[in-house]
């Protein structure tokens, strides 16, 4: 069953929702798209196939977030409320939504649930936008996702001509799309065809079977030095990654606030210890950590690859490093003979 939303009615439906929800929608900012709160004057940018520059993880794990306010003299503090009012995120790409389901396994565990993450997840309805024309940097189908993957979404849209075709996936999604026209069988068939074509367009970017075992095997090889050679250590691959979640906790002494900020394993100080020892002293170890985390450690934790193939790290790397090429190299890398002679 699919609903039809005329494109010209988009503003109407968004402003209707905005009566009861905070509504986030990709908007044009300078030369890129970013999720921002909807306003009738917003310049909506749903057509950028490259997704928003910042992944929508930022709406759940903000780049910088106050956790508590303190009085250092008295040693007293107050938690900052983790309450989140109901909101709708409209137009999230399937790779980014899948990333949220992966991050749930980090932030919402039985032992320690992160109240900030949880409050935002529970009060958010996510409407996805499938990718009819996936760009060259995307490789979601290689990593068990797809341009119309449903994981993490409450509904998914397929753009066709002057309409969006909507598949409702959860009860949360049902509530907000209740008064729309139904698509005919013929239209549905047409949309399914469009979706299948999008899957077909995406060639496998690298071989994933046996990849973890291979990476584990070459952990101590020169492979890492070779692939990290041109890396600048800027960390953009991790900051813009929808599944990277590392954070730092620091006290902002001028504001009297304890803040958590996005952090990155690509920085030297990330793992530097008080003694001066650093388990990851060079970019070689740090690049290794980034790739091993996504393509080995995630598999050990939940048997899923910790990458959703969004391609941001490929698109935004200032020296053109491409994780797909790195992994292809790994697959065929022949470890040097350690005890030669």
């Amino acid at each position: 069953m699919m609903y039809i939303l005329e494109k010209k009615r988009l503003n109407q439906i968004l402003s209707d929702w905005a009566q009861n929800y905070e509504v986030y929608v990709p908007q044009k900012v300078e030369n890129y798209a970013q999720f921002l709160p909807y306003h009738p004057s917003s310049i909506i940018n749903l057509s950028d196939p490259h997704k928003t520059r910042y992944p929508p993880k930022a709406l759940f794990l903000p780049q910088s977030e106050v956790m508590l306010k303190y009085d250092s003299r008295l040693g007293r503090f107050e938690d900052v409320n983790s309450h989140q009012s109901p909101r709708i995120i409209f137009g999230m790409r399937p790779c980014d939504a899948k990333a949220l389901t992966l991050l749930d396994t980090v932030f919402d565990t039985e032992e320690y649930s992160d109240p900030y993450w949880k409050a935002r997840r529970e009060s958010t309805v996510i409407i996805g936008l499938g990718c009819v024309e996936p760009p060259q940097t995307c490789f979601c189908t290689t990593v068990d996702g797809g341009p119309f993957n449903h994981e993490g979404l409450d509904a998914i849209l397929t753009e066709f001509d002057e309409q969006y075709f909507i598949e409702v996936l959860t009860e949360k999604g049902e509530i907000i799309f209740n008064q729309l026209q139904l698509a005919t069988n013929q239209q549905e068939e047409q949309i399914r065809h469009l979706q299948t074509e999008a899957y077909k367009e995406m060639e496998p970017a690298f071989e994933t079977s046996g990849l973890k075992a291979k990476l584990d095997k070459i952990f101590e090889s020169r492979y890492w030095e070779e692939i990290a050679e041109s890396c600048l250590g800027c960390g953009i691959c991790t900051f813009l990654c929808p599944t990277c979640f590392c954070f730092d906790i620091v006290d902002e002494v001028q504001r009297n606030e304890r803040v958590r900020n996005w952090d990155t394993c690509m920085f030297r100080i990330y793992s530097l210890e008080a003694s001066g020892h650093n388990p990851r002293p060079t970019r070689k170890e740090r690049t290794r950590q980034r790739l091993m985390h996504k393509y080995s450690y995630w598999l050990e934790h939940i048997n899923q690859i910790g990458c959703t193939g969004c391609g941001r790290c490929v698109r935004y790397c200032p020296v053109g490093l491409d994780i797909r090429a790195m992994l292809r190299t790994a697959s065929i890398y022949e470890s040097e003979v350690v005890h030669a002679g």
Binding site: L68, G75, D79, D114, E220, F247, D251, A274, H277, M292
Partner: protein, 285 residues
């Protein structure tokens, strides 16, 4: 003061009840903390196990992880011995009785005491890393716990006698008939009647028997590195050798990402690991 609810990032309000130097060079200071809230005290001691650590929290300075150096039966306080290293610990050294401080914990797995029941414990420590082993020894000393274990052997080394921690208490251990104590310093000193030498050599000299025994090693990385092979030589199996690891940490609950070795987080899956477990992990230490 408000209820911390279920926010695992929210520290418990604590107060320093005793603060004193442990070493004659003023590099080691012990802080004993009591709970402002009764409920926090109860939850803490319900969960606490020697070998665990806490995040101490000084507002304006941040947080840093420290191993707990006291056993639950010692009283309603939690003890930490802190080496002066960076800005947090410099400030921690200025704290005095009555000062407020925050604490999150207990964190981590602690020593697997249930698995060690009925066994001989060989406890080997060097430097200020002995603090969690002191907690372990104190735990075992309680009559109710002592019967759970066979023999107790403690080997504790420090660079100089001035750096030996918990002096008065440890001195009294020589009078106990339920344990064997070997203290060592690196270089000879007048009035020192115990071992002289590095911990690995002392372990080789003392040669504890691996029969029905587990060995626990905590110390600076260089000491641990050279002690583990000695234990293997003495016949300890990798499954019976344990150590406690440290890494830079922030959250302490397996979320902030930085303290992993392979797929294991030191804060959540450790800090205590057996040598067998460590051997299975990549060399990322």
């Amino acid at each position: 003061m408000q209820d911390n609810g279920h926010n695992p990032y929210s520290p418990m309000p604590m107060r320093i009840v005793r603060a004193y130097y442990e070493s004659n060079d003023y590099s080691l200071k012990t802080l004993e903390l009591v709970f402002d809230n009764q409920k926090d005290r109860e939850t803490f001691f319900e969960k606490f196990n020697p070998g665990q650590f806490c995040q101490l929290s000084i507002f304006g300075k941040g947080e840093a992880p420290f191993g707990v150096a006291s056993a639950a039966w010692e009283g309603d306080f939690v003890r930490f011995t802190i080496q002066k290293m960076g800005s947090f610990t410099q400030y921690a050294h200025k704290l005095k009785a009555g000062d407020p401080i925050g604490m999150r914990g207990p964190l981590g797995n602690g020593f697997p005491l249930m698995d060690w029941k009925g066994k001989t414990l060989v406890i080997i420590g060097g430097g200020c890393a002995f603090s969690t082993l002191y907690a372990l020894t104190k735990h075992v000393h309680h009559p109710q716990n002592r019967q759970d274990f066979d023999q107790l052997v403690v080997i504790y080394g420090a660079r100089t006698s001035g750096l030996c921690m918990y002096k008065h208490d440890i001195q009294s251990w020589y009078q106990r008939d339920d344990m064997e104590l070997h203290q060592a310093i690196d270089v000879p000193e007048d009035d020192w009647s115990h071992h002289v030498g590095y911990v690995p050599d002392v372990v080789r000299e003392v040669a504890p028997s691996p029969q029905n025994a587990v060995a626990v090693v905590c110390g600076p990385p260089i000491m641990t590195k050279f002690t583990l092979p000695v234990l293997v030589d003495l016949g300890f199996a990798p499954e019976t050798i344990f150590t406690s690891l440290e890494k830079r940490m922030k959250c302490g609950i397996g979320k902030c990402g930085r303290c992993n070795i392979g797929s294991k987080y030191i804060c959540k899956d450790g800090p205590v690991f057996s040598l067998a477990e460590l051997n299975a992990l990549p060399a990322d230490i």
